[in-house]
């Protein structure tokens, strides 16, 4: 099973690389040329050395000819390897860029259901880190694998051409260095597992203690924390010392094996020279090759890990890319005449096995204010999700001025609503860009006018660069952020509104401003408002009471109070404190 998925991943990957077919072809050719010439150079050096037979016996013009040839080959090799690196860079960074853009594009089209179900960190990892690792690992892995294979074959060819027996001996001894490496890896692996476990525990402790250090200090717990830390730390020290030591044995050990092979080559080579079946230059070739030939083998395990890593990154990226995008948009635009909203027999749930909203019917006349009321976590956002068509209803219809919302484009629907969420979101950009978010062509006068209406111009003016001030999450207070979000909607003046009153208390002055801004905004518009304030609730034309995700009551304040249902209870509980 897993093999099957990785082959299909591989074929998808190849499709991704298709664009770079020509580049890949040249990269392979250049790599082959550069490796072969690089390996041929020592042979030529060996032949040149062979000509150094003794005093007065050297043919300098012959040596010069050898050296000239070496020069040419060195030049070719260096040039080809440089060119290959450039091409590889092109392929590598090009594919990363392609993958990144494709995933980001796709995310913009994914239904919110998918996005809500996956953490932002996870998606972020896929778009950025996985894309990087994929292309890096893939390219590095493949080019090393290819160069390694060429090296092994060419070296063996040259070695065989110098001396068959010695080459066979080297071939037979090679596995020895693997065995040694394997043996050590197995020992050190256990130490690594322990080290990582302990390190994980330590990190958790560090996180816990430092994040909550203020509480810690309030209880004078520092010494006990330090003791706890010391305990884990000394364990970690023990394991880390062993792990570091054992893992660092691999290199010297394999090197020792290589040196052993080197010595054997020297010994047998020398005898062969005495027999006349080998030259000194030939021995020099064999000696330098005996080590080179080993190198790709030593690297192979890291190359394989690299490749495996990239494949799993690729799988994660493809999983995202293959997640189903939201349904196609109809061409028709929504035409809002007065803002009459009808919700007919709507059923909706986030999960198949759990009914949430069932047969919900609702009518709002143009210009009505509808308050959505309920305890925290009652699912007020569900209603927003349906109205904005962030989620599609399972059954039933939602009409705006007689047009079913799924029969018109999402953008025209969403543009008809002005939305202010409690969870304020602003871009890291200038104040101007943030206010003009929905209307980039707005003039400064329009922006300032909107800002004045929401009472946010006062603090904007006081900022360092006024409208040009770059803001991010930390630079503004919660109330200021909320005011900017309202201004953003104020500028667009959409025909309908969805507002979410803030629960977290903001200072009284700002709170009054926000309230006034909301009122300004709502004038004459059909508005849904998630309400926490009793005054808002009582002034609403209609109240939707929600609990546990369901809409359980609707009506205006007086009707609901008379009904003595959940709203009645809820309303009274606000006053329960009075008697205490």
């Amino acid at each position: 099973m897993p093999e099957k998925t990785s082959t299909s991943t591989l074929s998808k990957l190849l499709k991704l690389l298709d664009k770079y077919r020509v580049d890949i072809f040249f990269s392979i050719i250049l790599s082959a040329i550069s490796v072969i010439t690089q390996l041929y150079v020592p042979i030529l050096f060996g032949e040149a050395i062979d000509e150094l037979i003794g005093v007065g016996m050297i043919d300098m013009s012959l040596i010069m000819r050898y050296l000239l040839r070496i020069m040419i080959f060195v030049g070719i090799s260096a040039f080809c390897s440089y060119l290959m690196s450039l091409i590889n860079n092109r392929i590598s960074y090009g594919t990363i860029n392609d993958i990144r853009d494709r995933t980001f594009r796709h995310i913009q089209k994914l239904p919110l259901k998918y996005l809500d179900g996956h953490s932002a960190g996870d998606m972020l990892g896929r778009v950025i880190a996985d894309a990087d690792q994929l292309s890096d690992g893939l390219l590095l892995g493949f080019s090393q694998l290819f160069a390694g294979a060429v090296t092994i074959f060419v070296t063996l060819y040259f070695m065989f051409s110098r001396n068959v027996e010695i080459t066979i001996m080297v071939l037979l001894l090679t596995p020895l260095s693997f065995l040694v490496a394997r043996f050590i890896a197995r020992r050190s692996y256990q130490m690594f597992v322990k080290q990582n476990e302990t390190r994980g525990k330590q990190t958790a402790l560090i996180n816990e203690m430092i994040t909550n250090e203020k509480i810690l200090k309030a209880f004078g717990y520092e010494e006990r924390a330090s003791e706890k830390f010391a305990e884990i730390n000394s364990d970690l020290k023990k394991y880390a010392q062993s792990a570091t030591f054992y893992s660092s044995l691999t290199n010297p050990s394999t090197r020792a094996v290589n040196n052993l092979i080197y010595a054997l080559v020297a010994l047998f080579g020398a005898y062969k020279i005495l027999n006349g079946s080998l030259t000194v230059g030939g021995l020099s070739v064999l000696l330098s090759y005996a080590n080179q030939y080993m190198k790709p083998f030593n690297d192979i395990s890291s190359v394989v890990t690299e490749l495996q890593n990239s494949i799993s990154c690729a799988e994660r990226i493809f999983e995202l890319l293959e997640a189903e995008a939201q349904s196609a948009d109809p061409d028709r635009e929504l035409d809002v005449k007065e803002g009459m909203i009808d919700i007919d027999n709507v059923c909706f749930s986030y999960r198949k096995d759990q009914n949430l909203i069932e047969d919900f019917n609702f009518h709002a006349d143009p210009g009505m204010t509808i308050a959505i009321v309920g305890p925290t976590g009652c699912g007020k956002t569900t209603l927003i999700n349906l109205l904005m068509r962030f989620y599609d209803v399972d059954k039933g219809e939602i009409y705006i001025d007689g047009q079913e919302i799924r029969s018109v484009s999402r953008s025209s629907l969403r543009k008809s609503y002005g939305m202010v969420l409690q969870d304020t979101w602003l871009k890291k950009a200038s104040v101007r860009d943030n206010i003009a978010f929905g209307k980039p062509e707005a003039s400064d006068e329009e922006i300032i006018e909107a800002a004045k209406k929401t009472h946010s111009y006062e603090f904007i003016r006081r900022m360092k660069d006024g409208l040009n001030t770059i803001i991010d999450d930390d630079s503004l207070s919660q109330g200021q952020k909320q005011l900017l979000c309202i201004t953003r909607v104020m500028l667009c003046m959409p025909p309908m509104l969805i507002l979410d009153e803030a629960t977290s208390s903001i200072d009284t002055r700002t709170e009054i401003f926000i309230q006034k801004a909301f009122e300004q905004l709502m004038e004459g518009k059909t508005s849904f408002i998630v309400a926490h304030r009793l005054s808002t609730i009582r002034n609403a034309d209609k109240i939707l009471v929600m609990r546990d995700g369901q809409i359980i009551e609707q009506g205006n304040h007086d009707e609901l109070m008379k009904a003595k249902g959940f709203y009645f209870e809820l309303y009274n509980s606000q006053f329960a404190g009075k008697q205490l």
């Binding site: 690089q38 300098m60 020069m71 030049g75 860029n97 958790a204 309030a218 010595a263 929905g438």
Partner: protein, 581 residues
């Protein structure tokens, strides 16, 4: 940095032995070409089989001696680097624990955690590599040159030219590319930041139909990053071909001059082979040295950050022993207290009030009005900028830390529990609290049902942050944790916000019945929570605008009226008061 190196001094022996053994190993490597030269010159040219056998044995000995030396070096390096990092980690942890609130506010916990974890780990890797390899590569490079001199001084001059040239090329490329790498990182961060922002704001973005603009912006940043990457790539791509070409050109010159020398009989064939081998060793080591320099550079930067954190010293100092308490007519007294988290922006200014033992004091006001600041000054989490805070008649600055902490228990806004059992969490307040004491505190905190609902009782495991409890349960448990201390002053900093009104009032009742001597500070946004207090402090915009009982304030304080009537509009209607909210 000096401070950090002192942590290594404990491992001086290891720190000296590790590189030393590494050099011995390198020496073995350096001897190999000489032995091979000997085989050619003595064994082959003179047909001396004994010389060949001896050389072979020598090569084997060199191989295993090298391995032995290397093992020893690795052992000492591991011991020194890991030991160094462990000791450093412990003292850094203790140092962070010693910091005051002010420094914690300034650094932020994310930074502190990074210093504790990845920075120190990187430092460990750096020290380990430095001990093993920092000396080895230069040693081999210069060793090879010296060896070359022992063979033939004239030919060795080629080395004298080649080595600086190679070093120049390697370091020029590195010097050029390191700042570029930083730029790449910046571009990557900007791309990451943008994507995170996009994912967080997906609803707003879709509500404003800005998906296409976001894609455009992303693609622009993405291509920016790609260009930067390619620029760096082009530069790094030069490294290998250039060094390869230089070394081989040097070898060509070497063979040519070598041929001339052999021809006139100043050196022999084997010597040329040895020189050629030394040239090959140099290039391998230089490349290693380059990558080592990058790692050590990184560690150095981490080290600097860690050292900078050590330089942050706690701003609060305590006298060793408490001065005797002189006069305790008033338990808590603020005398014209001003305090600023940031210079110039007062969080509270000129606050004065006095409370007596056994009183309940309510602190009310909107967010940011300075309520929490007031209660944070009582246990001296921060030092006032002006004025004086006295507890039992004595300035809090004259208390020893323990004496002050023993008097006061605070239940913070954020209800956090720690990983461990419920019992362990409760014992934060008192290390040796018995189960009876714990149950008693739980009962007062209305948290008995939380524990009784669990099969394992007090042994029930609390997951990190207490995420396996609801907000209300966590709040009640944190209150119990504070009660176990049996404090003289209990501070509830908006710590019952997640409780319903009924539980909240039962809690307040239970606390008031505990001990007539216990003073309670209740910070709250709800008027109902503080209405019955003996003294209510009304905060507005950092100023104490009114103090008194509910009745007095309702008559006299406009701010209090505003708050009260906004929460009880029914009352307002009855009184005919204008409601703002």
């Amino acid at each position: 940095m000096k401070r950090l190196s002192s942590y290594l001094s404990k491992y001086t022996k290891e720190a000296i032995l590790a590189p030393l053994f590494k050099l011995l190993e390198a020496l073995m490597d350096l001897l190999v070409p000489l032995v091979v030269a000997y085989i050619i010159n003595e064994g082959i040219t003179l047909n001396n089989k004994q010389a060949i056998i001896n050389s072979f044995i020598l090569l084997i000995v060199l191989a295993f001696a090298g391995m032995g030396f290397s093992f020893t070096a690795q052992y000492f390096a591991a011991k020194a680097s890991v030991g160094f990092a462990s000791d450093l980690r412990q003292s850094l942890f203790d140092h962070i624990m010693s910091l005051s609130y002010k420094e914690l506010d300034q650094s932020g916990s994310d930074t502190l955690i990074t210093r504790m974890t990845s920075d120190i780990n990187q430092l460990q890797v750096g020290v380990n590599l430095a001990l093993r390899l920092l000396l080895r590569s230069p040693f081999i490079v210069f060793g090879a040159m010296i060896m070359a001199f022992t063979i033939d001084a004239r030919l060795a001059l080629i080395f004298v030219v080649t080595i600086p040239l190679l070093t120049l090329v390697v370091y020029a490329i590195m010097l050029k590319s390191i700042p570029l790498f930083e730029k790449v990182q910046q571009k990557l961060d900007s791309l990451l930041g943008m994507t995170r922002e996009n994912l967080n704001g997906v609803r707003v973005i879709r509500a404003f139909c800005k998906e296409d603009d976001e894609i455009k912006e992303f693609e622009k940043r993405s291509i920016d990053l790609t260009f930067m990457n390619r620029t760096v790539g082009r530069l790094s791509a030069l490294m290998n071909p250039l060094t390869y070409a230089i070394v081989n050109i040097a070898s060509i010159v070497l063979i040519y001059s070598g041929a001339l020398s052999v021809n006139v009989g100043t050196i022999r064939q084997g010597d040329v082979v040895a020189l050629y081998n030394y040239m090959a060793q140099i290039i391998v080591e230089l490349i290693k040295l380059a990558s080592l320099t990058i790692t050590i550079n990184k560690s150095w930067a981490c080290g600097k950050r860690v050292a900078a954190l050590f330089d942050v010293s706690p701003s609060l100092t305590y006298p060793d022993e408490a001065t005797d308490i002189k006069d305790n007519t008033y338990q808590v007294e603020f005398k014209d207290v001003s305090f600023a988290y940031e210079k110039g922006i007062d969080a509270i200014s000129e606050v004065s009030f006095k409370t007596k033992k056994g009183q309940t004091i309510g602190v009310i006001g909107s967010t940011g009005s300075g309520k929490s600041t007031i209660v944070n000054l009582i246990p001296r989490f921060y030092d006032v900028s002006e004025g004086e805070v006295r507890v039992d008649g004595l300035n809090v600055k004259d208390y020893s830390r323990k004496a002050l902490l023993d008097k006061i228990a605070i239940v913070p806004q954020k209800a956090v529990l720690f990983e461990g059992t419920i019992r362990e969490n409760m014992r934060w307040g008192k290390e040796d609290a018995s189960d009876e004491e714990i149950y008693e505190a739980l009962k007062t905190a209305q948290a008995l049902e939380v524990v009784e609902g669990k099969k394992e009782g007090l042994d029930h495991i609390v997951e990190q942050g207490g995420r396996n409890f609801s907000g209300g349960q966590r709040q009640r448990l944190t209150i119990a944790r504070a009660l176990i201390k049996k404090p003289e002053i209990l501070i509830l900093d908006d710590s019952s916000s997640a409780l319903d009104f009924a539980t909240d009032s039962r809690l307040r009742k239970a606390i008031s019945e505990l001990d007539k001597q216990l003073s309670v500070f209740i910070v709250s946004q709800r008027t109902s929570s503080i209405m019955n207090a003996d003294l209510i402090l009304v905060m507005d915009d950092g100023k104490l605008v009114a103090q008194g009982t509910h009745k007095q304030l309702l008559k006299e304080s406009r701010v209090y009226q505003e708050i009260y009537y906004s929460q009880f509009p029914e009352e307002a209607g009855r009184q005919g008061v204008k409601v703002y909210a």
